[in-house]
């Protein structure tokens, strides 16, 4: 069964450093998403991506964040200058179509900012 994969599973970085979180969505999916979950809090939407551009983004997704689909298979989330409060679990998801379709989630990347 196809699945969404994410690398790395755990990333530790120093405050102020740039990190890139990688995701490989399911191959015939068209919609891609990033969510994050700070420990003990809700899973929060960050950004959705369709047709090679951002469709929607939340208030969390400020200028420090960017997304890219560099090669037709990977979908990356870059945090330009990490802050302590960026420590969270980051989930990538993909779906074949829009709102009415199931989103398939990856296993997540745990980001720890020291």
């Amino acid at each position: 069964e196809p699945e969404v994969t994410q690398t790395p599973s755990h990333q530790v970085t120093q405050m102020g450093q740039e990190v890139i979180l990688r995701c490989v969505p399911i191959s015939n999916h068209l919609y891609f998403y990033w969510y994050r979950q700070i420990l003990g809090q809700k899973v929060e939407f960050l950004v959705s991506f369709y047709n090679n551009e951002i469709s929607e983004k939340s208030e969390i997704f400020d200028d420090q964040f960017s997304v890219e689909r560099p090669d037709g298979s990977n979908f990356t989330l870059k945090i330009r200058s990490t802050k302590l409060e960026d420590s969270a679990m980051y989930f990538c998801a993909s779906s074949r179509q829009g709102p009415v379709n199931e989103q398939f989630f990856g296993p997540g990347t745990r980001l720890t900012v020291l």
Binding site: V4, Y31, Y33, Y35, Q41, K42, V43, E44, F45, S48, Y50, S55, E56, S58, F91, A93, S95, G98, P99, V100, N101, E102, Q103, F104, F105, G106, P107, G108
Partner: protein, 115 residues
């Protein structure tokens, strides 16, 4: 703004007990409703979803949920839980209104089933 409330933070049951997890959402328009489950060490996976039609939806592993529009609720039920149902359960909502389907999640309910 849309929001989702899950009132139970942690539920502990014995095997064969019945389960009902509450979920209420706040949104005035047409919504799609989901329950996701996260088993220990695994990723989020879909249990069931409601888009339209019969408000009683059946999902995998014997779970079902009922959409009650007047109460803005989408409670998850299972008549007899098993130890393997130990997991965290997330209610989520999105809307058709011009969005690309980004999900709004509740805080999650941790279910522990004692053998």
């Amino acid at each position: 703004a849309q929001s989702v409330s899950q009132h139970n933070h942690h539920v502990i049951l014995s095997e064969a007990a019945s389960l009902e997890l509450g979920c209420n959402y706040s949104y005035g328009g047409t919504v799609n409703l989901f329950w996701y489950v996260q088993y220990p060490g695994q990723h989020l996976q879909l249990l069931l979803k409601y888009f339209s039609g019969d408000p009683l939806v059946k999902g995998i592993k014997g779970f079902e949920a009922e959409f009650i529009k007047s109460k803005f609720s989408f409670n998850l039920r299972k008549p007899s839980v098993q130890w393997s149902d130990t997991a965290e359960y997330f209610c989520a909502v999105n809307s058709d209104g011009g969005s690309q389907g980004n999900l709004i999640f509740g805080k999650g309910t941790k279910l522990s089933v004692k053998p």
